[in-house]
């Protein structure tokens, strides 16, 4: 895949990718955009090995998902401090976003449940596709979706 073709694909898919990462980052746009850029650079570096089978978006989401998990793993030790800071400032980081309730509810979910829920409800993927993107079994995805949905409904009082 040439650079021009890659950029053309990205121009078409970037909004969906950023939306997915924005939900995973619970509305933190700067984090989401940084992760999107990192994921896209990784995708660019490995696009020589990509074989076009009409699943470019899934391939991109897989890279973005792994980038997000790596980012979460690297932040694990400072996460509690960040969460405490967020609680004190009443989500100052999210104040510029209009969907605070949903993002706050998503924040309570573990990253894997959050990813499964976002891919299922926001991006419209089915269980098989989610299991391919997240590299987990379909049963595990079903469990994540079920748990995540129950927690979200409870938080959002739906």
């Amino acid at each position: 895949m040439t650079r021009e073709v890659f950029i053309a694909h990205i121009e078409r898919e970037q909004e969906a990718l950023r939306g997915f990462l924005l939900a995973l980052c619970c509305g933190n746009k700067s984090d989401a955009d940084d992760l999107a850029q990192d994921a896209l650079v990784k995708a660019y570096l490995s696009c020589a090995g990509y074989q076009d089978k009409g699943k470019f978006r899934s391939w991109l989401f897989k890279i973005a998902y792994n980038t997000f998990l790596n980012h979460k793993a690297s932040l694990r030790c400072t996460e509690n401090i960040d969460e405490a800071r967020t609680l004190i400032s009443k989500t100052a980081a999210d104040s510029s976003f209009e969907h605070q309730d949903l993002y706050l509810a998503l924040r309570t979910l573990p990253p894997k449940e959050r990813s499964a829920i976002t891919l299922f409800y926001l991006n419209g993927y089915n269980i098989k596709e989610i299991s391919m993107i997240t590299e987990t079994s379909e049963d595990a995805v079903k469990k994540q979706l079920s748990r995540g949905r129950d927690k979200l409904k409870e938080k959002l009082k739906l």
Binding site: R3, G19, D33, Y44, L45, A48, G49, Y121, L152, L158
Partner: protein, 132 residues
Amino acid sequence: MTKDKALEELFLAQKPHFSDNADFMASLTKRLDAVEYLKQHQEATIRRYKMLMVAAFVVGIICGAAAIGYVLSMPADVPLFTVHVQTGLLLWLAENSRLIAATVLSLLMTLGIISIISNVQDILRMRVRIKA
């Protein structure tokens, strides 16, 4: 698994729209330019490394051949070097000069081959890292 209607509607209603797509793409293009520059730099480094290795290999072969040629061209009954001191160890060195020179040359060539193999492995590893 069926979708929960209320959740689906909530997600769809809150689907984000970005107004800074052009800025995002401009920033991405800059990053890709930087990545491209680094890739080219790494490839140039590998090329230089390869050329240096080939040059070292050729110089090693020439020097080794010259040294072995020198050793073989000397008369067999004359030692390669003589030490004008009648000490036990130095006398032994002088008597076995051919054997010692051959051993040292073999050792040097072995070290050279080992270093070439490790350099080739380094280059292969660097290539894999660049592709990854």
